[in-house]
Symmetry: C2
Subunit: 272 residues, 2 copies
């Protein structure tokens, strides 16, 4: 695999990640997963704005221009022999001596990789995670940081319970999101998604659905999920219908979902 | 620097961390910081038990015996030309393809480094972090994981406010711990520390102080800190008196602290 590391395009085997990189030692960084379609990084400006906003919360400088990063994503995708791809851009604070306080002059690491887009998945069976909660009182709930263990714990719980994904609650019991996706449910004929204040990550597809007027933010409780008619998950790679959450069976062909599916398709660039 | 990586002792420049290591991409791992004194890793069995307990929560296999890891710490310390040292043992889930769900057969990464012990520090001025909270409802609050960003955010806040450290509260407003240390305060002539249920990491020095009968667990609120007479921080590298928390000035020479300091000294192996 060819990747892009701090300005160089090189084979993964030749890429040197410093064992003292704070991304490795402390999860000190942020990342983006970006859909590349027809060679084009979709909504790149939004992704890079979110990356920079997250880095600003952590005080990590972002030395590369949007243009340079866009070109790097295109180069990595092309080197992988892909036209459609899932690209990942990781920014860490870079190597540093022992200690939690960041160095005053960090040398951040920027790493870009690309792989095949995951194939469309059938409607998902989800459980409500009992193993952990989102922390709505941490700024980390609102940035896409490398601290992904709560979601990993919930995803492992889902697998152990025979489900495809898990819905995380915040510490107050409000519904937040799924492990790698924003959650939407159809309730009272409206498509609803939890507000950021309830521990939902500010997903880019989520923001676009809200801006398109197709969905609204509202605090959701587990009992709301158990009376919803339908639901779906979104992230930057795509949409996925929900077949059920816990014992509540959803309608994967609900008309509200058709509108959203049509909206998603019209956003994609025309096939060559 | 010489480090130990998956069984090999080698220069840091020659160590290869895979760019797909989940420790780097998702903070998927645990670590220990261990005091080495007179060439001896202090309380090694406790550290390795905690590491293994944390790895079990995450489902990361730990393939190395306590003896092998102890020998590795000794070898790294010796290669650094040190007799007293701060050793760090990092265990990640290892490299994996994209995705949050862990691979069914992981190949974990074990990395050991050693550096000089930090010099004794003067009494610390601490603030109460306003920037983030500990998540008492996540199992991560009770394991020493690579997801360290909340503590980094709080430590940066402390530095920005001219303080040495920050005290983190949990999402309910209970006092939890400092950014790299357990917190103890002298209140009503008793030495108190927050219970694990309030988001305190199960520190090894903390557990030993409790077992020695020198301190007790009790839920603490910020107002308790503002009427405490004295306080101190502990981690595996040592103790540090508190000079103040916010506006409350502490007595760094309080007799209760002398008892604790004496207890710490008697635990260390005799100087050669």
């Amino acid at each position: 695999m060819i990747l892009w590391l701090n300005g160089a395009l090189l084979p993964a085997e030749a890429a040197r990640i410093d064992p003292a990189d704070r991304g490795l030692t402390l999860g000190d960084g942020v990342f983006e997963t970006i859909r590349v379609q027809g060679g084009q990084a979709m909504h790149l400006a939004r992704h890079l704005a979110r990356l920079r906003a997250g880095a600003a919360v952590l005080g990590i400088p972002t030395g590369w221009s949007d243009m340079a990063l866009g070109q790097a994503i295109a180069a990595v995708t092309k080197a992988a022999g892909l036209v459609d791809a899932a690209a990942r851009l990781t920014l860490t604070r870079g190597p540093a001596p022992r200690g939690v306080l960041p160095p005053s002059e960090p040398h951040p690491t920027v790493l870009i990789t690309a792989g095949a887009l995951p194939p469309p998945a059938p409607p998902a069976c989800a459980v409500i995670a009992a193993s952990t909660r989102r922390n709505q009182d941490s700024p980390l709930s609102r940035i896409k940081s490398l601290n992904y263990l709560d979601n990993i714990i919930a995803r492992r719980e889902a697998a152990a319970r025979g489900a495809d994904d898990a819905i995380l609650l915040d510490t107050r019991g409000h519904v937040a999101e799924a492990t790698v996706a924003s959650l939407f449910v159809v309730l009272d004929e409206t498509i609803l998604t939890p507000p950021l204040a309830d521990g939902a990550m500010p997903g880019i597809t989520r923001a676009r659905l809200l801006a398109a007027g197709l969905a609204q933010e509202r605090t959701l409780l587990p009992e709301d999920l158990s009376r919803a008619r339908a639901g779906f998950l979104t992230n930057s790679l795509g949409l996925r219908a929900l077949a059920r959450i816990e014992n509540r069976v959803f309608d994967p062909d609900h008309p509200a979902l058709s509108d959203v599916w049509r909206w998603w398709e019209t956003d994609l660039p025309p096939r060559p």
